[in-house]
C-alpha cells in the first residue's frame, strides 16, 4: 500500500506539502489497523506530470492504482477513512478522463521513474535497476563500445541544437590530453520551460548515472553540474543524491572495483540566459562573466581550463542509462528516422491539461494539443504554438499536423529547443509575443558582439513603436532585413536565433502586423496603447466597482447611475474591464 503525493514545483505550489502532512497525520491517528499501517507509506515523489490538476494523489492498494485530483488537506481524512481503511474510493474526487487521455499517448523514458520513485532514496533507485548499467559498462565494456552504442541509438542533444551525442563523445575521446571534463548543463534559462528541473527533482540519480557513463566514454575524471541557483529544491536533491552516490562508492575512487575515478561538483549559475551557450557556460564555471567566444576551437578540443570538455544537457544524460540498459535498438525504435527517442515538453499557456509530457519524436502537434493537452482552455480558437522559447518560433494553427522533430520544426522556422511548448489562442497578440521574446533576448544579450547587442535593441525599438501605434509603413521590411543580419553575423547561438520569434510571426501573421501599422488596431486587444475603453450606459448598473478600481481617476458617475470614462485621463490599464461584472465596459 503506497500513497503518492505529487511534490513537483506545481504540486508544492498547490499545497502538496500540506496534503502530505495531512496524510501522515491521518494515517497515524485515524486508528488504521496495524496490518495496513505497516505497509502503508506515503512518500514524496517528483512530478507526476499533469500539473493543471494538482495536488494529484495516487493511492496504490492491492495492485490497483487510483488517482485523485485537486486534493486539498481537508479532503485527506475522507480518502483515508473511505478508501484506505474502507475499500471504496471517493468517486467524486477521482481524476477524470482528461487524466487518462493525458497519459495515453505519452511514452515515458526519461520521466519513467519521476513520480514513481522517491528521489531522495538511492535504494529505491537501485531496486528499480539503477546503477546496474553503470556497473556493467565499467566492468565489462571499453569506452569505444559505449560511444558506438550511443551513436547507434541516434540520440541527439536535448538542450536545443540537437547535436548527435555519440559523435560529441567520440570527438572528445579522440581529442588529445589526459585531463578531460564532463559538464552537465542544468542552466535552464528558457522562460516557460521546466523539464530539466523536473528531471533533477524527480530522478537525480539518472543524471548522475548518465554522467558516469559519459565520463567513462570520453575519459574524464571530473564532472560539473552547472545548475541555476533559482532552483533550490533541485539543487538540494542533487546534492543529496551526489552524497548518497559517494557513500555507495558510485562516485570517487575505484568505482565498482575498477580503477575508474570520477568526481562531481555542483556549480551554481547566477542567472544569465547566455550561459546556456557552451563557451559562456565554461567562462562562468571559471568564475568570469559568462561571455561566449568564437568557435572553433570547440569545447571538445579546448574547453574548461583549456582542456577537452563535453557539455551535455540534463535530459540527454538522463536518457543514457535507459539506452545502455535496453540497448540502442530499443531506443532507436522510438521516434523518426533522424530524430530518435522521446522528448520532454513543458506544455503550458492556453491549454486545458498544463503539465510536463514526454512524447516520442515525430508525434504531431495536433496529438499533443488535443489528445494529450485536452484542447484549448476557455474554448477560444487556437492561434499558434510557440516552441523553442526565445530561440524558437510561432507555428500557426494551420500547421497542426506538423510532426514534432528537429527537421520538421526547423523547416517552419522554429526549433525543438529545450522543450517549452506554449499554446496561444485568439486573445494573444503575435506582435506582442515577438516583442516579449526580443525584450528577453535583448536584456540577456551579453554585449560582446555588435549584431546581437545593438541589433536586438533596434528590433525592440521597432516592435515597441508598432505596438504603440507608431509603426511605419516599411517597418516590416526593416524588421526582416535587420533580423537576417543579426542571424548571420552574431557570435553565438543567442544572437543567431534571437530573431526567430520576429521572423516566424512576420511570416505567418503578417496581417496582424499590418493591422497595427496601418489601422492602428490590435486585433487581439492586447496592445494597450491601441485600445480605447468606454462604458455602455445601457448595461451599466452604476455599482461603482470600476470607479474604485480605476487608478487614474478617469471614471466618474453617481451611484446607481451609468458611469463614464474620460478618455483624456484614461491610462488604458484595463482595470475597469476586469472588474465589471455586467460586461458594460467595452474596448476596441
Amino acid at each position: 500500500m503506497v500513497i503518492r503525493v505529487c511534490m513537483g514545483p506545481a504540486g508544492i505550489a498547490a499545497g502538496g506539502k500540506e496534503v502530505l502532512d495531512a496524510f501522515r497525520q491521518c494515517l497515524s491517528e485515524a486508528g488504521i489497523s496495524a496490518e495496513v499501517k505497516e505497509h502503508c507509506s506515503s512518500h514524496q515523489v517528483g512530478c507526476i506530470g499533469l500539473c493543471a490538476k494538482d495536488v494529484l494523489v495516487e493511492v496504490h492498494k492491492n495492485g490497483n492504482k487510483t488517482t485523485y485530483q485537486y486534493v486539498k488537506p481537508d479532503m485527506v481524512e475522507r480518502i483515508v477513512s473511505e478508501h484506505v481503511i474502507g475499500d471504496t474510493p471517493v468517486q467524486e474526487w477521482l481524476a477524470d478522463s482528461d487524466c487518462e487521455n493525458f497519459y495515453r499517448k505519452q511514452v515515458k523514458v526519461v520521466l519513467s521513474d519521476c513520480g514513481r520513485l522517491d528521489p531522495e532514496d538511492i535504494d529505491a533507485y537501485i531496486a528499480a535497476g539503477g546503477y546496474e548499467p553503470t556497473r556493467e559498462v565499467l566492468a565489462t565494456w571499453i569506452p569505444d563500445d559505449v560511444i558506438e552504442e550511443i551513436k547507434a541509438s541516434g540520440i541527439r542533444g536535448r538542450g536545443g541544437a540537437g547535436f548527435p551525442t555519440g559523435l560529441k563523445w567520440e570527438l572528445a575521446r579522440r581529442s588529445k590530453g589526459t585531463k578531460k571534463y564532463l559538464i552537465c548543463n542544468a542552466d535552464e534559462g528558457d522562460p516557460g520551460a521546466f523539464m530539466d528541473r523536473a528531471v533533477i527533482e524527480g530522478n537525480p540519480h539518472s543524471v548522475i548515472e548518465g554522467m558516469l557513463i559519459g565520463a567513462f566514454a570520453i575519459g574524464a575524471d571530473k564532472g560539473y553540474v552547472y545548475i541555476r541557483a533559482e532552483y533550490p529544491l533541485a539543487v538540494e536533491r542533487l546534492k543529496l543524491a551526489i552524497k548518497q552516490a559517494y557513500e555507495r562508492r558510485f562516485l570517487g575512487e575505484d568505482i565498482f572495483n575498477t580503477n575508474f575515478r570520477f568526481d562531481i561538483e555542483i556549480k551554481l549559475g547566477a542567472g544569465a540566459f547566455v550561459c546556456g551557450e557552451e563557451t559562456a557556460l565554461i567562462a562562468s564555471i571559471e568564475g568570469q562573466r559568462g561571455m561566449p567566444r568564437p568557435k572553433p576551437p570547440f569545447p571538445v578540443n579546448r574547453g574548461l581550463w583549456q582542456k577537452p570538455t563535453v557539455i551535455n544537457n540534463v535530459e540527454t544524460l538522463a536518457n543514457i542509462p535507459y539506452i545502455i540498459r535496453g540497448g540502442s535498438a530499443r531506443y532507436a525504435s522510438l521516434g523518426t528516422e533522424k530524430s530518435k527517442g522521446t522528448k520532454v515538453f513543458a506544455l503550458t499557456g492556453k491549454i486545458k491539461n498544463t503539465g510536463l509530457i514526454e512524447v516520442p519524436m515525430g508525434i504531431s502537434l495536433r496529438e499533443i494539443i488535443y489528445d494529450i493537452g485536452g484542447g484549448i482552455e476557455g474554448g477560444k480558437p487556437l492561434k499558434a504554438v510557440q516552441t523553442g522559447g526565445p530561440s524558437g518560433g510561432c507555428i500557426p494553427a494551420s500547421m497542426l499536423d506538423l510532426n514534432v522533430d528537429y527537421e520538421s520544426l526547423a523547416s517552419v522556422g522554429s526549433i525543438v529547443g529545450s522543450g517549452g511548448m506554449i499554446v496561444l489562442d485568439e486573445d494573444n497578440c503575435m506582435v506582442n509575443m515577438a516583442k516579449y521574446f526580443i525584450q528577453f533576448t535583448q536584456s540577456e544579450s551579453c554585449g560582446k558582439c555588435v549584431p546581437c547587442r545593438v541589433g536586438t535593441k533596434r528590433l525592440l525599438e521597432i516592435l515597441d513603436r508598432i505596438t504603440r501605434g507608431e509603426g511605419k509603413e516599411d517597418d516590416m521590411e526593416l524588421l526582416e532585413k535587420l533580423s537576417n543580419g543579426i542571424k548571420s553575423a552574431s557570435l553565438c547561438g543567442l544572437g543567431q536565433t534571437a530573431p526567430n520569434p520576429v521572423l516566424s510571426t512576420l511570416k505567418y501573421f503578417r496581417e496582424e502586423y499590418k493591422a497595427h501599422i496601418r489601422d492602428k488596431k490590435c486585433p487581439a486587444m492586447v496592445c494597450k496603447e491601441l485600445l480605447t475603453y468606454s462604458i455602455n450606459e445601457e448595461v451599466c448598473k452604476g455599482c461603482g466597482a470600476c470607479l474604485k478600481a480605476c487608478p487614474a481617476g478617469a471614471i466618474s458617475g453617481a451611484k446607481k447611475k451609468p458611469h463614464k470614462i474620460n478618455a483624456d485621463i484614461c491610462i488604458r490599464c484595463g482595470a475597469c474591464f476586469d472588474v465589471c461584472k455586467f460586461k458594460s465596459v467595452g474596448r476596441e
Binding site: P9, A10, A13, A14, C51, A52, D54, G189, D190, P191, G192, A193, F194, R197, A198, A229, E230, Y231, K267, L268, G269, A270, G271, A272, F273, S284, E286, G287, Q288, R289, G290, A346, T348, G349, K350, T354, G355, Q386, G389, G420, I422, L424, N428, M433, Y436, F437, F440, C446, A549, P551, C573, G574, A575, D578, V579
Partner: protein, 153 residues
C-alpha cells in the same frame, strides 16, 4: 560586517578565481553586495574591484542595493506572459510608484523582482508575495494583498 566578511573570505584565499561563489555567499549573508564587501575582498585578494563589479552586474542574481522589507516576485515566463502577467506588473509598479528601472519603493517597504520562470506554469500568472504563492491571479487580488501589508506596516 567585518567578521562576516572575514568568515566568508576564509575559503577563497586559495582559489581566488571563484568570484561568483564568493559573491553568492556574500549576497546570502547580506541580501545584496555591499560596497564595503567588494572593497574588502579587493584588498585581501589583490583583485581589482572592477572585476567584482563586472561579475556582479553581469549576472541578474546579484543586486547592489538592499531589498525592501517585503519582497514581491512576479514571474515573467512565457506562460505567465500569455496569461496576462504584464498587466499585473504594470499594476504593481503603479501602486508602488516605481519608475522603469526602479525595483524598490521609495519608503523601502517593497521590492518588486521579475524572474524569468518559476516553473509553476500551470498556475500562470504567478506572483510570490513574501514567499507565499498567488497562482492564476489577477491585478486586483495582488493589489489587495499589497494594501494589507501597507496597512500593517
Amino acid at each position: 560586517m567585518d567578521n562576516i566578511l572575514k568568515d566568508i573570505i576564509k575559503n577563497y584565499h586559495e582559489k581566488a578565481g571563484n568570484i561568483i561563489s564568493l559573491l553568492q555567499e556574500t549576497q546570502d549573508a547580506f541580501g545584496y553586495i555591499p560596497r564595503e564587501a567588494v572593497d574588502f575582498y579587493s584588498q585581501e585578494l589583490h583583485i581589482a574591484g572592477s572585476r567584482f563589479y563586472g561579475v556582479a552586474t553581469f549576472y541578474s542574481q546579484f543586486r547592489l542595493k538592499p531589498t525592501g522589507k517585503n519582497k514581491i516576485v512576479a514571474c515573467c515566463g512565457t506562460a505567465c506572459h500569455v496569461r496576462g502577467s504584464e498587466k499585473i506588473i504594470n499594476g504593481l509598479k503603479r501602486e508602488l510608484g516605481l519608475t522603469e528601472d526602479e525595483d524598490t519603493s521609495q519608503d523601502g517597504e517593497f521590492t518588486l523582482e521579475k524572474v524569468a520562470c518559476l516553473g509553476t506554469c500551470s498556475f500562470a500568472p504567478v506572483v510570490l508575495i513574501n514567499g507565499s504563492i498567488y497562482g492564476k491571479t489577477g491585478t486586483e487580488t495582488v493589489l489587495k494583498e499589497i494594501r494589507k501589508l501597507e496597512k500593517g506596516k
